[in-house]
């Protein structure tokens, strides 16, 4: 078996196992860590597909940023080790049914469809090219999404600060 096949099997096994563990784990911090593993494996998959830049971005942003953020918020809002989550079995069953149905449907569709590959030559993906595309105004330049994203990030930052600042709403006793 070729090496890439082995790597693929390894990575995909990790992804599948850890994602299932994320959604079924009963302790929150463990779920966060499992998520981290999923993201790292995904990044490995990106390396395999020859998208190095994106893999690096994935590692930095997702694994290094978002998971850390999640863990911070877990610490802020709940008791890590004492809380056990469990849902009713009816909810589980219905959700599982829906998810399974969707999965089977999608797989059948994928397997049915005939993907036709193009015969053009592959493009070399290097940093210089990516940088140039991000700022070019040509037909396949991405400067507009780039600018929009920057505005979005600014807005998200401002929103997050305002929503979460101290002196928020007063405590309310929930009717049980």
């Amino acid at each position: 078996m070729a090496s890439n096949q082995i790597m693929f099997i390894l990575f995909s096994a990790m992804i599948v196992v850890f994602s299932i563990l994320t959604v079924t784990s009963r302790k929150i911090l463990r779920a966060a860590v499992f998520l981290l593993f999923v993201l790292v494996s995904t990044s490995g998959l990106y390396f395999m597909l020859n998208y190095q830049f994106l893999a690096a971005v994935q590692l930095t942003l997702y694994a290094g940023g978002i998971v850390v953020l999640i863990i911070f918020s877990i610490l802020l809002t709940s008791h890590i080790s004492l809380k056990f989550e469990s849902s009713g079995w009816k909810k589980n069953m219905f959700s599982a049914t829906a998810a399974l149905t969707g999965a089977i449907l999608s797989v059948i569709t994928i397997l049915d469809y005939k993907f036709s590959a193009t015969t053009e030559a592959a493009k070399e993906v290097n940093m210089r090219f990516i940088g140039k595309s991000l700022l070019s105004v040509d037909y396949d330049g991405y400067v507009l999404p780039f600018e929009v994203i920057s505005v979005l990030l600014l807005a998200a930052m401002v929103a997050a600060i305002i929503v979460a600042k101290k002196g928020g709403p007063k405590k309310v006793e929930l009717p049980k």
Binding site: V23, L35, N50, E85
Partner: protein, 105 residues
């Protein structure tokens, strides 16, 4: 590099991850675990885009750039979601999704 692995394998992997995330979204009780499931979904979509880009359109780069922007958006969305969750915690002292249901009839 990709000669041995058919496209459909990537796609099926992404599908599994996606529906795992959907299951988690529908089942979990803690708001933060729901957010984690959303991240799973977004990642599966990224894998899909990149697989298509590599296998079907290797002369273009749109898939990669789209994934890049998806990652950026996911990050900002997670930030705002965490801010909201913190606010909810301040108000209700719980982040059990079944208990924050005041916007109803």
């Amino acid at each position: 590099m990709n000669t041995g692995i058919p496209l459909q394998y990537f796609l099926i992997l992404a599908t599994v991850m996606f529906f795992t995330g959907v299951y988690g979204f529908l089942t979990r009780r803690n708001l933060i675990t729901i957010l984690m499931s959303v991240e799973l979904i977004l990642n599966s979509v990224n894998i899909n885009f990149l697989a298509f880009n590599r296998y079907l359109y290797p002369h273009k780069l749109e898939g990669m750039f789209f994934s890049l922007f998806v990652i950026a958006v996911a990050a900002s969305e997670a930030a705002v979601a965490i801010a909201i969750i913190i606010n909810i915690y301040r108000r209700f002292t719980t982040i059990n999704v079944e208990d924050v249901n005041e916007m109803k009839f």
